[in-house]
Amino acid sequence: MTALLSIERVKARYGPVEALRGVSLTVDEGEIVALIGANGAGKSTLLMTICGAPKAAEGRIVYAGQDITGTDLHDMVKLGIAQSPEGRRIFPRMTVLENLQMGAYLGDERNLSGDLERMFALFPRLAERKYQRAGTMSGGEQQMLAIGRALMSRPRLLLLDEPSLGLAPLLVAQIFATIREINRAQGVTVLLVEQNAYHALRLANRGYVLVNGEIRMSGTGQSLLDDPDIRKAYLAGGHG
């Protein structure tokens, strides 16, 4: 199988700070891949670098056989890459509906109403809050909106940055179930960044561990879950 996304020795800097120090990873079509790592490891930077902000200082990013290393941020959606970024970044002074419409900004108008229906079926809470200003929604609702907005562009590759952040345990389970559903039913490939390593590795086909801007370990979700070092470093919470 050829990789949908392949990142080759990518470095990224913020001024003098080198946040990614030669990262390589691949994501195959139809997979869910988890990326775990401590705070400041460079996980969010990696997702943003895939989208071109910051641009990779070195290395190559290949998507669907095409080198996208220098591509502009606003051209990513056209390629089929959508991101629900760190901190959700919903538009606070727009309604829920408008946020979803923004997700379909470049999409075909004819698909809009059908896609909205699907999003409301996936997240019934969003349907109830359709005309509420997004900034006044609860953290969990905003998270659903951020994922829903990313899906509105009908992506082939979905980049999710900590979708479970700040959610109650019940909601965490629900969000992960939804990600699985999106992946299975709609065939969307997912690259998932998570602090919640246990859930993420259980869900994912494969996983990577990022330490200080470098990939330290990789393998199937299960093999990483069973690894004693990983258990000590990332699963100390006592899951499973």
Binding site: L73, Q83, Q101, G103, Y105
Partner: protein, 304 residues
């Protein structure tokens, strides 16, 4: 009562001009976060293009004033749009992402440049124009004080109301408007969703410039004379209107414009006219003391 009504009509007309210019300030501030101090000059250029276009049409002995105004309007909008677009491209875009004061200084520079450029091109003298739209009617007629409203005033007020309603719809109901608001709230996220941020900002400058062109045309028709310096004070007042209404807020800009027009008209009617600008800026100060975000501005606590 009649006197009051007359001042109301005059004030609304003046307020319409300020409101139209103020929208340009407020839209650019909302999206780019900078005060485009050259906007007053764009308005002045709109007025000049109108004057020159009317003069040219006049030499052809153009008969229909409505058609003439339409032609001039299109010419004025095209010219100011080109100026607005170019100013953004040359003076602001290269400075995007540098320190906050840089585009402000650049804007003041552009403003001085445009003033002197028109000064050189058109000379320093007031340029007069034959009245294009004449006539009107008397609204109340008990004889002691007739309240006159001219056709021009009616046209100005109607055109302004239509434009403002149109712009409000555009910002709130269209895809372009949504993209503009998205850029205002989170530029990087907007780009991540496929919005071409640079182009959206350019369009915003062009929209502001087009409204300034309308205001310039109205000024030319209403006062019948233009010079290269009219952009300075009008720009300052319109900026004041935008701040008074709450900078960044579209209805705020309209409200602020109308209020300032009304304050000027009523002040001039009852108090020494030399102090009317003092009154305008005085009220701005008072409002800002009690409502630092302006009348319709949103408090910053909401910012995420």
């Amino acid at each position: 009562m009649e006197y009051f009504l007359q001042q109301l009509i005059n004030g609304l007309t003046l307020g319409a001009i300020y409101g139209l210019i103020a929208i340009g300030y407020t839209m650019v501030y909302g999206i780019v976060g900078m005060i485009n101090f050259a906007h007053g000059e764009i308005y002045m250029i709109g007025a000049f293009v109108s004057l020159v276009a009317f003069t040219i049409l006049g030499t052809f002995a153009f008969a229909s004033p409505v058609l003439a105004i339409l032609i001039v309007l299109i010419a004025a909008i095209i010219f100011t749009s080109v100026y607005g677009w170019t100013v953004e491209r040359i003076a602001y875009r290269p400075l995007r992402g540098s320190f906050r004061l840089a585009p402000l200084i650049s804007a003041i520079g552009v403003s001085i440049f445009l003033q002197n450029y028109v000064h050189l091109l058109q000379g320093a003298k007031m340029k007069p124009l034959q009245p294009i739209v004449t006539g009107g009617f008397v609204m109340t007629g008990d004889g002691s004080f007739p309240v006159r409203i001219t056709y021009l005033q009616i046209g100005i007020i109607v055109a302004t109301v239509v434009l403002m309603a149109g712009f409000t719809l555009l910002i709130h109901k269209t895809k372009l408007g949504r993209a503009q608001r998205a850029c205002e709230q989170d530029r990087k996220m907007a780009a991540l969703l496929g919005v071409n941020v640079d182009r959206t900002i350019s369009i915003t400058f062009v929209m502001g410039a087009a409204l300034a062109a309308v205001a310039g045309l109205i000024f030319t028709l209403y006062y019948g004379a233009v010079d290269f310096f009219i952009g300075f004070l009008a720009g300052l007042k319109a900026f004041t209107a935008a701040v008074l209404g709450g900078i960044g807020s579209l209805p705020g800009a309209m409200l602020g414009g109308l209020l300032i027009g009304l304050i000027e008209a009523f002040w001039s009617a009852h108090f020494p006219i030399a102090y009317k600008d003092v009154a305008v800026f005085g009220i701005l100060v008072v409002v800002l003391i009690f409502r630092p975000t302006g009348l319709l501005g949103r408090p910053d606590v909401e910012k995420v």
